[in-house]
């Protein structure tokens, strides 16, 4: 019976070509707009490190006081000062911890005929590699001893390794950053979490994959400045060492806390650290700290661009209107066939049979709309780069799950829209119809 109704449905698609194509186009557009915007939202609200996002935390300490944080609903600064970052590193209260900042070093190719170039680079600590589950193609991260020894070592990305060494194992070889040489200890294997949770402040959440890591300690020795944000509540103008000792904030700080107990303990530690600073007279205010995990942090920093939420809302409104439209047109299409329904009912068809027949017919309309929707979603994907930065646009892609979702949404929405017209069709009185015709 299903096959028969399906055939009837397909047949009726051709019966009112204008009405039908209007419905198919409306559903196609509505579904495509929703799916395109949903793809962007899905990409931007992605969990960048799902296996660990609830174990990685970024602590915040208010080192500026209410006169500065007042503008920000009392929220402590996003970044940390050198003084606080170093105190936390030395206290070593988390399972793992790292302080990191973006650096603007240039890579000088060994081949003198090639021009220097830049890649996304960070100064960081050895724990970073195990904390962020960074995969390695060759070698590994450096050790805590090398942090201590302030060693000139580097971990580079696979793309950079391809560019400089044609993909060969470069562990043990040197790389020149600005005028300084570093020994390569590891080559990362395509590590690119998006959003870039570890430095939301600089990259705005999305950016090119990091290709160079060097030890934080060594970068500070070389006085390599941050290329990220550097916010000073009070001016600091006495050169590098004065800046390090100032309350300017510029460091991303991350800790790994594997369970609830260690999270609570670390929270207490942060509080007591801030209290101690207040006691010592450095902070003239009560402890004001935060400890957010990866997803809480991305949410707090509003990494998902407001454009993507607004456009999804507009698209859903659009889909709703298309569906209202479809209800009206299906009603017109079905009621036009009242005489036909009357004949079928008179010949013994049950109400249920009418329901099944018309819902399947609506389903075929929905399927046709969904197929158009898939094509239009593909076109929509090309349009994403109109609105969003290329870093975001290339994250939104059509995959099988999106195609499946598009078809499902189209069919389900149309069948739902068809309930009322079908109910009306099933109410047709056979006797009345036969008499009047």
């Amino acid at each position: 019976m299903f096959a028969y109704y399906l055939r009837l449905g397909l047949h009726s698609l051709r019966r009112n070509p204008l009405l039908t194509s209007l419905m198919v186009v409306a559903i196609g557009f509505g579904v495509a707009a929703s799916m395109t915007t949903y793809a962007v939202l899905r990409a931007t609200s992605n969990n960048p490190i799902p296996q660990k996002s609830s174990q990685l935390f970024t602590p915040q300490i208010d080192n500026a006081g209410p006169s500065v944080t007042g503008d920000d609903n009392g929220e402590p600064p996003d970044l940390m000062s050198y003084i606080d970052a170093m105190a936390l590193m030395q206290a070593h209260r988390a399972k793992r911890q790292t302080a990191m900042y973006p650096i603007g070093v240039s890579i000088i190719p060994p081949d003198a005929s090639r021009l220097p170039f830049q890649e996304t680079s960070y100064a960081t600590y050895a724990d970073t590699f195990s904390m962020f589950d960074i995969p390695f193609l060759y070698g590994a991260g450096w050790s805590a001893q090398e942090d201590q020894a302030r060693a000139a070592v580097a971990v580079i990305g696979r793309a950079l390794n391809d560019k400089l060494f044609q993909g060969a194992n470069s562990v043990g070889r040197d790389i020149v950053l600005d005028n300084h040489s570093y020994r390569i200890v590891g080559v990362m294997n395509n590590w690119n979490p998006q959003p870039m949770f570890y430095d939301v402040r600089t990259a705005g959440g999305f950016g090119d994959p990091t290709q160079v890591f060097i030890p934080f300690t060594h970068a500070v020795d070389l006085e390599i400045p941050t290329i990220g944000a550097n916010m000073c509540a009070t001016s600091s103008n006495g050169g590098w060492n004065t800046w390090l000792r100032s309350d300017c904030v510029w460091i991303n700080y991350w800790v790994e806390l594997p369970d609830n107990a260690s999270v609570a303990a670390y929270h207490d530690y942060l509080y007591s650290y801030a209290a101690q600073q207040q006691h010592a007279g450095r902070f003239q205010w009560a402890p004001n700290i935060r400890l957010r995990n990866v997803m809480q942090w991305l949410d707090y920093k509003q990494v998902v661009p407001p454009e993507s939420k607004i456009s999804l809302l507009v698209s859903l409104g659009f889909l709703l209107i298309c569906l209202v439209n479809t209800v009206g047109l299906l009603l017109a299409k079905f009621m036009r066939r009242a005489p036909e329904i009357g004949v079928r009912r008179a010949l013994g068809a049950s109400r249920n049979a009418i329901y099944v027949q018309f819902l399947i017919e609506a389903g075929t309309v929905g399927l046709a709309g969904g197929l158009l929707g898939v094509v239009m979603t593909g076109v929509g994907m090309l349009g994403i780069s109109l609105v969003f930065e290329p870093q975001i646009a290339r994250l939104a892609t059509v995959d099988t799950s999106l195609v499946g979702l598009t078809l499902c949404v189209a069919v389900l929405a149309t069948v739902m829209a068809a309930f009322y017209p079908t109910w009306r069709a099933a109410q047709v009185q056979p006797a009345w119809q036969l008499k009047s015709s």
Binding site: L18, L19, L22, V25, A26, F29, A33, S67, G104, S106, I108, L115, P116, F117, Q118, D178, N179, H180, I227, A233, T234, S235, S236, N237, G238, G239, W240, T242, W243, P305, P306, E307, K309, I310, S311, V314, S315, G317, F318, L320, I321, C322, V324, N325, V327, G328, L329, L331, A332, M335, R336, G383, L386, V387, F388, E389, Y420, R424, S436, S437
Partner: protein, 408 residues
Amino acid sequence: MLQIKPILAALKRHKAGTILIVLQIALTLAIVCNAMFIINQRVARMSRPTGMDESNLLVIQNHWVGVNTQAIPTLTHADLLTLRQLPGVEDATRINAYPLSENGSFEGIRLDPNMKPRISLAAEYFVDDHALPTMGVQLVAGRNFRADEIHAIDPQVARPPSEVIITKALADKLYSNGTALGKPIYIGNDNPPPSTIIGIVGQLQAPFPNTNFVDCAVLLPSLLEDNDGSYLIRSKPDQLAIIAKEAPATLLKLNRMRVFSSEHGIRTFDVVRIEAYKSDRGIAIVLGSICVVLLIITGAGIVGLTSFWVGQRRKQIGVRRALGATRGDILTYFLTENFLISLLGLLIGTVLAICLSEWLVIRFEMQRLSILYLLTSSVVLLLLGQAATLNPALRASRVPPVEATRSV
């Protein structure tokens, strides 16, 4: 026109169809007027002038590689001398940031250095004496910097200079009635020394187009000892394309220890503007297309349902015609019917539109919808409804009276 009573009576028998059209018009109005409002705000933001003569400007973002920062002023001098001598170049300057560059520094400005709250924030442009002529920024009072006033400074130990040029918008915030020239201002937080205003420029935007201090900037006569900086080059008319090729090549020939970033390294100002407002333009295009498709679908929906009604009522129309109704009567009957339905839809749509706008205000901190957009969109939808009804209504008016005698 006095067919309202029978129309209402007829509509009661077509509740479902009527409600659907009302609902569709209401939703369309709510979305279209809010979308038009957002589009207009974005377009207004995109068309604000920076204050520069943008058509002949080239920006080269230059990063020095591995050079001692103290050597940078000398290297910069050499670069600028070479650039200025290139045929087709009008003038060139080095600057830490520029309008629409979306990064740069800003400071609080005060008239009393001990006062905690600042009067305004202002963008800082570290410039030389060639900056104003290169950017094409107009002085409205005072004078430009002299070459001997430009000092090399380490950004880590920067102190505000003794002479500054500020924008008129900032001058008006600080001193009333255009009396700012020659007066002191204080730049920064910790008891900075005073800086004297020696010049006022008409307009020069801050690097960040979306801040509330977008028109406030101070120009400081300093050459920063900083690896990063941008060269602004003003070409002679019609020479921009050639300069965009030659200037970077010339700089590399002079010294190859530099990097021009792959994305923002070398851009004409047209490109800078396009990239800065990319998402604004994109949002406007996307919302605009959604509005157009929405209106088409709504119009088509009305055509579909009205056609259905006309088909359903052929017999009744025939009876009316046989009883003496003119073609015009039938035409106006359907147009009035649509008018009444649209009116109800617009009424409900207005409530929805205002709710949606309030929600956007609360959730996304947008501006409140202006009534003008509501009215315009309502008129557009009303006209669309009438236009969509016209064809089926004309077909109805052509139903012959003899139809009354036929069975369905």
